[in-house]
């Protein structure tokens, strides 16, 4: 790295900069060009779908709920292994009681709620249209109230992972404490922008007053 146009370099700065460089030396990104292009294509298509107003059809909703019936299970290892998809979200339930969920930018909260109810996940699913002027590219959450608020401690077994470039919510049903609900709120802003807020809430969210997440505290 050239330090020619550094304004001032104090004693030890060269070592400091070299240390930073060494700390990540040799690290390489594993994704290939094709992976990145495929992810980019999916992003672009999702954005176009939302802008075009493509939603979830009633037929798809009915079909998806039907698939969740126990008789539709494919069964692995003596338990259920169910998948629903093509209805604005994809949900898989493994035989060990873990639910894997991904949602698109346009999904029906009614359908998803029904699917989660059917799977026995204590949950609340809401879609909130943000007022004009709100920016759904910024993190947004529902304001805490006396009845519905963030739990005091995070719970192991409720989380998310990124799979093939998409956020996948993972829910262990038995990990949801009594009185708490897996809560997914999708805030929709101007066309093409949404913010999904996911986590456990104490109390069942039925209405939501949006607020931006507070800015992180500046470094001391």
């Amino acid at each position: 790295m050239s330090t020619d146009d550094f304004d001032t370099l104090a004693p030890g700065d060269e070592e400091l900069l070299a240390g930073l460089h060494r700390s990540v030396a040799g690290a390489a990104l594993t994704a290939g060009t094709a992976d990145v292009v495929a992810l980019g294509r999916r992003m672009r298509n999702r954005r176009r779908a939302v802008v075009a107003g493509i939603g979830t059809s009633a037929a798809a909703i009915v079909a998806a709920i039907g698939v969740l019936a126990p008789s539709a299970g494919t069964g692995t290892g003596g338990g259920r292994d169910l998948t629903i998809q093509d209805a604005g979200f994809t949900m898989r339930e493994h035989s060990d009681g873990t639910v894997f969920l991904t949602v698109d930018q346009a999904f029906s909260p009614t359908l998803l709620q029904a699917a989660l109810d059917k799977a026995g996940v204590p949950s609340a699913v809401l879609v909130e249209q943000l007022p004009a002027g709100w920016d759904a590219t910024r993190p947004i959450q529902c304001k805490d109230t006396a009845a519905v608020h963030a739990p005091p401690m995070p719970v192991s077994g409720i989380g998310l992972a990124v799979v093939d470039g998409r956020t996948e919510y993972r829910i262990t049903k038995s990990a949801v404490p009594a009185g708490q609900f897996v809560t997914l709120v999708q805030f929709r802003g101007r066309p093409g922008t949404v913010w999904d807020s996911f986590g456990l809430r104490t109390g069942r969210q039925s209405t939501c007053e949006p607020e931006y997440y507070p800015d992180p505290k500046p470094a001391a």
């Binding site: 104090a10 930073l20 990540v24 954005r47 409720i158 456990l200």
Partner: protein, 171 residues
């Protein structure tokens, strides 16, 4: 493959690792850095006509990745990583080639810098952009970039000195 795709592929091959290292230095979590960097490149592909005209497309990628990280961090505050033990190990594990004492301390300090200072450091140090290019990439005046860098270096230096003092006291 059309011309735009060829351009993007060449850009990706040339900048993927430097961008990844810049993001890795800033977030210190290999898996997260991979996801953020890949997603930022995917966004670059989706907006390639615009990004290709950016004064420093690699800087655009790193900034996008770091901005996405802020969102992640905020969203994950109430959540736990799926594999808590594994994620913790990833967080603590040193990056490849880190055989220096200065690495972890400075990396932690880097993560605590205000966003703008951190952006300036990763663009200047890891993408090797000069002041003028960094300023163009961030939409700042060159003097402002220098000021941010000066403050960042001062903070990093102070962290290192504090750590050295703590080490001295232990002995």
């Amino acid at each position: 493959m059309d011309r735009g795709s060829e351009d993007f592929a060449a850009f990706y091959e040339r900048h993927r690792d430097p961008c990844f290292r810049a993001v890795l230095a800033a977030v210190a979590d290999r898996h997260l850095a991979e996801e953020l960097t890949a997603e930022a490149f995917a966004r670059a592909w989706a907006h390639w006509r615009k990004v290709a005209r950016h004064p420093a497309p690699a800087a655009w990628v790193v900034r996008t990745a770091l901005n996405t990280h802020v969102s992640w961090w905020r969203r994950r505050r109430r959540e736990v990583a799926w594999d808590a033990a594994g994620a913790g190990a990833a967080e603590r594990a040193p990056a490849d080639g880190d055989a220096t004492a200065v690495g972890p301390v400075v990396r932690d300090a880097l993560r605590r810098l205000p966003m703008r200072q951190r952006e300036v450091v990763v663009l200047r140090v890891f993408l090797d952009l000069d002041t003028r290019s960094t300023a163009a990439a961030l939409g700042l005046a060159p003097g402002t970039v220098q000021a941010h860098l000066h403050r960042a270096m001062k903070a990093l230096r102070a962290e290192l000195e504090d750590e050295n003092e703590r080490e001295e006291l232990k002995r």
